[in-house]
């Protein structure tokens, strides 16, 4: 077996995990989301397959399994140049990661079901909920949920920004990109930083769409900033609270720090496309896939020989 093609997708996973976040903020958000979702999915598949091969070469030398599979242990052992400890670690990883992916898929199904059940009786595509907390969501299925708290926090033009942002989520079905990348990161934990980047880029994509729809980046920046400052705790319904009130209400929270980055990005010109960077990432992903294909080829060759040897000597 060519060890290089076996290890390469793992190395590429690690590289994407390390470099991906910075790369994703250097390309337009829409490109980043599409490129890294497809890339993460492909690299996770390639890595998963290679881990399986690494483990199976050792496993196949078990007499019981070789008997069932009708292949020669000797041939497999001769071709197996993977250190046993690596094979064992890979085997454990394959089992654990498969379980994790299954659990993740079940969770996704349950989320979709819960949203479906909660929205069953709603008639409108835009659902306004009477709640002092400023909140707005785009739901899978295309509904948009907005609280009266959010509507009251924003002046008319900025409400338009909010709607344009949520409709971008709906139109492009952003939740699918987020879920796929998260699933890839579950299957290949080295890709976890990429999954976080895609989640952030999805919001930037919707911001850029809102800025394009309203034609006013500064307005869009104001809307995001004001929504970020709006009370996330139950409001007493004060009309037009001062910014200091909002600061106090927003104070004790865990955060991801993306709102500031989003506002800053909107105060700058739209990000330029970087075709060379996108091409480089695409090539790296293709290399990972080709490595896996080659590994699959090698695997096939070894077991064909092993089977031939078994039948020739039985």
């Amino acid at each position: 077996m060519h060890l290089l093609v076996l290890y390469l997708p793992l190395v590429i996973s690690a590289a994407l995990g390390v470099c991906g976040p910075r790369l994703s903020s250097n390309v337009p958000p829409a490109t980043a989301v599409r490129l890294f979702t497809v890339g993460a999915f492909a690299v996770a598949l390639a890595t998963g397959f290679n881990l399986f091969v690494l483990a199976f070469l050792l496993l196949a030398q078990l007499p019981w399994l070789a008997g069932v599979g009708h292949w020669s242990i000797a041939v497999v052992r001769a071709a197996d140049n993977v250190p046993p400890i690596v094979a064992a670690a890979s085997g454990i990883a394959v089992i654990v990661l498969n379980i994790a992916v299954t659990v993740r898929l079940v969770r996704f199904g349950r989320s979709l079901w819960a949203v479906h059940m909660a929205c069953r009786h709603l008639r409108s595509d835009l659902v306004v909920v009477g709640d002092g907390i400023a909140d707005a969501f785009a739901l899978p299925g295309g509904r948009i949920l907005v609280s009266t708290g959010m509507l009251r926090a924003l002046p008319a033009a900025e409400r338009r920004v909010l709607l344009a942002h949520e409709m971008s989520h709906v139109r492009h079905r952003h939740y699918i990109f987020v879920q796929v990348t998260d699933l890839a990161a579950t299957a290949d934990p080295l890709l976890r930083p990429l999954s976080r980047s895609v989640r952030a880029a999805v919001e930037r994509w919707a911001d850029e769409d809102a800025a394009a729809a309203t034609g006013d980046r500064r307005l869009t920046a104001r809307a995001v900033a004001r929504a970020g400052l709006a009370p996330a705790s139950h409001s007493s319904g004060q009309p037009d609270p001062s910014p200091s009130y909002w600061l106090a209400a927003a104070a004790p929270r865990i955060a991801s720090g993306r709102v500031v980055a989003r506002v800053n990005a909107l105060l700058e010109p739209p990000p330029a496309s970087r075709p060379l960077l996108s091409l480089a990432v695409t090539l790296v992903v293709i290399i990972a896939c080709l490595s896996s294909l080659q590994a699959s080829n090698d695997f096939d060759t070894v077991f064909r020989r092993a089977e031939a040897h078994y039948h020739a000597h039985s």
């Binding site: 969770r107 909920v129 707005a136 949920l145 500031v260």
Partner: protein, 126 residues
């Protein structure tokens, strides 16, 4: 003013619902038109109001000479908080919901307020 295409109509209907929700009281078509910024034709606004009424989202009441439109039902049928609770308690383990803005770290509040100020001032002439 361009014609409202089918793609735009969905967005307009959402804006109309938002306007009525914010107002908290029934509005006449002229009032809705004004709340939307006044750039849309009266007939465009009327069409959206009628469609929403047909869908059962709005209720039309006669007030004096004009009709006034309001959202049907109590908007607190489901609060956003209850939805989050429902989904957190075993409903959204996958995180399919993402809100418009994340919560802020304490030190970011002032930073954001400064940015809001900066975004409000007209940019200096080049």
């Amino acid at each position: 003013m361009g014609r409202v295409t089918r793609r735009n109509r969905g967005g307009l209907e959402k804006e109309v619902v938002a306007v009525l929700a914010t107002a908290g009281r029934p509005l006449t078509p002229s009032e809705v038109q004004a709340e939307l910024g006044g750039a849309l034709a009266y007939t465009t606004v009327m069409t959206s109001l009628v469609r929403l009424t047909d869908k059962g989202v709005l209720q039309r009441d006669r007030t004096g000479r004009a009709y006034a439109y309001r959202l049907i039902g109590d908007p607190t049928v489901m609060t956003a908080r209850r939805m989050r609770q429902l989904l957190e308690s075993g409903g959204d383990p996958a995180g399919v919901l993402a809100s418009f803005v994340d919560e802020l770290r304490p030190e970011e509040g002032q930073l954001l307020a400064d940015l809001l100020q900066e975004a409000a001032d007209p940019p200096a002439p080049e």
